[in-house]
C-alpha cells in the first residue's frame, strides 16, 4: 500500500485495475453474487494485464468483474487516520498555467456544489514590482490548525497522519472555522449540492470520502485519504498535466507527482521551498516552490481565467 515503495510497474498495474474497476462500475452485478460465473460468455476480446509475478498475460474482457469499492472506514477510524504517515504536498509554482484541471477533477470526484471550489488557483500579484504568478491553493492541513481550535463540536479534527478532516454528520454549520482559517480555504454548502448523482446520494457518508456533501455544513480539500488507503494519489495530483502537485509522506521524505519522485528535503532545499503565511504559526503541510524559471508566462493563464 505504500505509495513510495511501489515500483513504477506495480503502480501502473494498480492504475490499470482502477481504470477497469471504474469502467466496469456501470454494470450492477456483483462478482460475489451467486451464479455470477455462469453468466459470463467470453467475448473474444482480450486485454493485456500484468500478473502478480510480473508477467504479461492476456485475459478475455468478459472475465474482468467490477469489484465493489473497499468498505468505508468507521467514523472512529476516519478520525484516527492512517498510522505511520505524515502527508505533505509540494506545489511547484513554476509549472502552473492556470489550466485548473486539478480544480475540475477535485470538484467532480467530490461532487462539490457548482458554485464552490475546494481547490482555488489564485493570481498572486504581491507587490508593485514583483512578478505575478498562479498559485494553486489547497487546504494547508496545518499542524496548528486554527479551524480545529475553534470548532465547538469536534466536527473538524486533525488525524495522526496530519490530515485535517470534516465530519459532515456532526458539523452544526456555525462557520467559526471559516472565520478562523487565514487561507480562506473552507467553503460552505449554502444549499444542498446540485452535482451529486443519484447513486452517490445513497452512499454511506464517511469523512474520508467527504461524499455526499451535506447542506448547511462546511467542506474543504481533504487530501483524499480514501485514495491514500488505496495506494493512490489525490485527484488534483493525477489531474495536472504539468505535474505541478507533488504528494507524499514526510516520514519517508519522498513526494511524487505520479511521473517524478523526489526526496522531499532535497526538493525543498534545492528549489527554496516555503510555506504560505507561516508567520501566523499555523505550520502548514503544504510547501510551495517559488516560480523561478517558469514553464509558462503568467499571461498564458489569463486566457483560462474566469475570475
Amino acid at each position: 500500500m505504500d505509495i513510495n515503495n511501489t515500483s513504477r510497474k506495480e503502480f501502473l498495474a494498480s492504475l490499470l485495475t482502477t481504470g477497469l474497476v471504474l469502467a466496469g462500475c456501470s454494470t450492477k452485478k456483483s462478482p460475489f453474487e451467486e451464479g455470477a460465473d455462469e453468466m459470463v460468455k467470453p467475448t473474444g476480446e482480450k486485454v493485456k494485464l500484468l500478473s502478480v509475478d510480473g508477467e504479461v498475460i492476456e485475459v478475455d474482457k468478459a472475465f474482468l468483474k467490477p469489484v465493489p469499492d473497499m468498505p468505508a472506514v468507521t467514523n472512529s477510524e476516519a478520525r484516527r487516520g492512517i498510522p505511520g504517515k505524515k502527508f505533505v504536498m509540494v506545489i511547484d509554482l513554476s509549472r502552473c498555467k492556470n489550466l485548473r484541471k486539478c480544480q475540475a477533477a477535485c470538484n467532480h470526484m467530490h461532487h462539490v456544489h457548482s458554485d464552490l471550489n475546494w481547490l482555488k488557483v489564485y493570481p498572486m500579484d504581491e507587490g508593485e514590482h514583483t512578478a505575478p504568478y498562479w498559485q494553486p491553493t489547497t487546504c494547508m492541513h496545518c499542524d496548528e490548525p486554527p479551524c480545529v481550535k475553534v470548532c465547538p463540536v469536534d466536527a473538524t479534527f486533525k488525524r495522526q497522519d496530519g490530515i485535517v478532516l470534516i465530519d459532515s454528520d456532526r458539523c452544526i454549520g456555525c462557520r467559526f472555522c471559516m472565520a478562523a482559517c487565514p487561507y480562506s480555504i473552507r467553503v460552505f454548502n449554502w444549499e444542498a449540492p446540485d452535482t451529486i448523482p443519484e447513486e452517490v446520494c445513497g452512499q454511506p457518508y464517511n469523512p474520508e470520502t467527504s461524499v455526499p456533501q451535506k447542506k448547511g455544513t462546511v467542506g474543504k480539500c481533504d487530501f483524499c485519504p480514501d485514495m491514500a488507503r488505496k495506494g493512490e494519489l489525490p485527484h488534483c495530483v493525477s489531474a495536472c498535466p504539468n505535474g505541478t502537485f507533488f504528494y507524499g509522506d514526510l516520514n519517508e521524505d519522498s513526494v511524487t507527482n505520479g511521473a517524478e519522485t523526489f526526496r522531499f528535503s532535497d526538493l525543498i532545499r534545492d528549489k527554496a521551498g516555503y510555506q504560505l503565511m507561516d508567520e501566523l504559526g499555523t505550520k502548514p503541510s503544504v510547501y510551495y516552490l517559488p516560480p523561478a524559471a517558469r514553464n509558462f508566462p503568467f499571461e498564458k493563464g489569463m486566457e483560462n481565467d474566469k475570475g
Partner: protein, 455 residues
C-alpha cells in the same frame, strides 16, 4: 385633543427645567401610579406592529430552513452577516442589566432604583433573543444538541454558550427576586382572573416578613456581586469569537475592553430610550424625574468618552502602521465602501449624542430620547462594521468564486429575521410591562419612607 394638550405641557416643562421640589407621595398614590395597566390604542397598535414583524420573520426562517442559508446573502467570504452582528448587538445591550441593577445597586446609588427593573427586563429580553438569533444563524440547527453531546471546552463558542446561559439565569433571578415584594401588592390590588393567577403562581409565598426581606436582600446582593464578572465575561468572550482569529480588524488585543465599553454605552442609550417611553406613556413624571435624565445623561457621556477612547486605539493605531493585510480593510472603512456607514456610526452614534448630552439642556427627556435612539442605532451599525468588512478583506485574493460572493448586502429574509428578533425582544419587554410594574413599587415605597424619615 387631550393628548396633544398634555404633550404641549410636557414640552414646556422640558424647555424650562425647573428644579422640582421633592414630591411627597402617599403609599396609595405610589401603588395606583405604578400598577400595570391594560394597553390603550397606542399599545395595541405597537403590539400589532411587533407581531407583524415577528410573523414575517418566522416565514422567512421557514424559507431558510427549507432551502438552506442560500436564502441569505452570506457566502463563503462574508460567511457571517447581520445575524452575527445582531447577536453581538443583543449581548451588548444585555450588559445594561448588570450595569444599572448590579453596579449601581452595589455602590449604593439610590436614584437608580426606579430604573433597575427597566434595565433588567431589557437585559433578559436581549439575551434571550441573542441566543435565538445565534440558533437562526446555524447551518444545521437540528444538530444543536451536538453542542452538549460533543462540546469541546477549548472552543470560544462553548465558552460563550456557558457564560451566556449563566448570565441569563442570573438576570432572570435578578428580575424575579426584587419582583416578589411587588407580587404581594399586585395580588391585593388585582381582580381575580388571568393575571391574578399568574401572580399567585409566581409569588403567593411572599408574605413580607422580616426574615423574607432579609433573605431577599442577601440573595439580591450575592447575585449583584456574581453578575458583574459574568457580565464582563459574556461580552469579552463574544469579542473573542473575533479576536481569536488572524484577520485584519479582528486580530486585536483591544477587543475585550473595546466591546465592553461599547456594550455599556449601547445599554445606557437603550435605558435612556426606555425611560422616556415609559415615563411618557404611563405618566411617571414623579418617579422618572428630570434628575434621573440628568444623571443618566452624565453617565452616558462618560461611557461615550470611554468608548471613543477605545475606538481611537482600535482604529488609529493600525492606521499609523498600515500593515499590508490591514491596508485594504482600513481603506474600506475610512474612505471606501463602508465609509458612509462608518462615519455615520462614529458621529451619529457617539460624538454628536455625547456633545448634546454635555449640556444641561441636553440632559432633558426629549433630547435624551433622541440621543438614545441615535446611540442604539449607531451601536447596531457599528457591530455590523465589526463583523462583515473584515470578512470581505481576506488575506488571499477573492478568486474562483461567483461574483455574488465578493459582496454582501442582506437579503429580505435576513432583514426580516433580524427585525423579527428585535421585535421579539421589544415584545418581551412590552408584555412584561403589561403584567408587572416597570418601576419597583415596594422599593419606591420604602425609599419614600426613608426620605420622609430624613426630613
Amino acid at each position: 385633543m387631550e393628548h396633544s394638550n398634555s404633550l404641549r405641557k410636557v414640552k414646556k416643562a422640558q424647555l424650562h427645567p425647573i428644579h422640582k421640589e421633592k414630591v411627597v407621595l402617599s403609599d396609595e398614590q405610589i401603588i395606583s401610579d405604578l400598577l400595570p395597566r391594560k394597553f390603550g390604542k397606542l399599545g395595541i397598535i405597537w403590539i400589532a406592529i411587533l407581531l407583524a414583524f415577528c410573523a414575517v420573520g418566522m416565514f422567512a426562517y421557514y424559507r431558510q430552513l427549507r432551502y438552506g442559508l442560500i436564502v441569505t446573502s452570506m457566502r463563503d467570504y462574508a460567511s457571517w452577516g447581520i445575524y452575527i452582528s445582531n447577536f453581538v448587538f443583543f449581548v451588548a445591550i444585555s450588559l445594561v442589566g448588570s450595569l444599572i441593577t448590579a453596579v449601581l445597586r452595589l455602590t449604593g446609588v439610590h436614584w437608580a432604583t426606579p430604573l433597575t427593573r427597566i434595565a433588567e427586563i431589557i437585559a433578559v429580553a436581549a439575551i434571550t433573543f441573542g441566543a435565538i438569533i445565534i440558533i437562526v444563524d446555524m447551518g444545521r440547527p437540528d444538530r444543536f444538541y451536538n453542542l452538549f453531546l460533543f462540546g469541546r471546552l477549548q472552543s470560544p463558542i462553548i465558552w460563550d454558550v456557558t457564560v451566556i446561559t449563566t448570565y441569563f439565569f442570573i438576570s432572570c433571578l435578578l428580575l424575579y427576586i426584587p419582583l416578589l415584594p411587588d407580587m404581594k401588592i399586585l395580588l391585593s390590588n388585582t381582580k381575580a382572573g388571568g393575571p391574578s393567577k399568574l401572580y399567585k403562581f409566581m409569588g403567593s409565598f411572599w408574605k413580607g416578613t422580616h426574615l423574607q426581606f432579609r433573605i431577599s436582600k442577601k440573595a439580591i446582593n450575592i447575585l449583584c456581586i456574581a453578575i458583574v464578572p459574568v457580565a464582563f465575561s459574556i461580552h469579552t468572550v463574544t469579542s473573542w469569537l473575533f479576536a481569536t482569529t488572524y484577520r485584519p480588524g479582528w486580530d486585536s488585543t483591544n477587543f475585550g475592553a473595546y466591546f465592553i465599553a461599547g456594550a455599556f454605552l449601547a445599554g445606557a442609550g437603550a435605558v435612556n430610550v426606555a425611560m422616556f417611553v415609559f415615563r411618557k406613556y404611563y405618566k411617571l413624571e414623579n418617579y422618572i424625574t428630570q434628575e434621573h435624565f440628568d444623571k443618566m445623561g452624565k453617565i452616558t457621556v462618560m461611557l461615550g468618552m470611554l468608548y471613543l477612547y477605545f475606538n481611537v486605539n482600535e482604529y488609529l493605531v493600525p492606521y499609523f502602521k498600515m500593515k499590508k493585510p490591514e491596508v485594504a480593510f482600513l481603506d474600506s472603512l475610512f474612505t471606501g465602501s463602508f465609509s458612509i456607514l462608518f462615519w455615520s456610526a462614529i458621529f451619529g452614534g457617539m460624538i454628536i449624542p455625547m456633545i448634546v448630552l454635555l449640556f444641561k439642556k441636553g440632559r432633558t427627556p426629549l433630547p435624551m430620547f433622541v440621543c438614545g435612539i441615535m446611540i442604539v442605532v449607531g451601536a447596531w451599525f457599528k457591530r455590523y462594521l465589526i463583523v462583515t468588512p473584515t470578512l470581505l478583506q481576506p488575506f488571499l485574493p477573492m478568486h474562483n468564486v461567483p461574483e455574488s460572493y465578493k459582496h454582501y448586502f442582506p437579503s429580505w429574509e435576513e432583514w426580516s429575521i433580524a427585525l423579527a428578533s428585535l421585535s421579539g425582544a421589544l415584545l418581551i419587554i412590552t408584555i412584561f410591562v403589561r403584567f408587572f410594574p416597570i418601576i419597583p413599587i415596594q422599593e419606591t415605597i420604602i425609599e419614600q419612607h426613608e426620605k420622609e424619615h430624613h426630613h
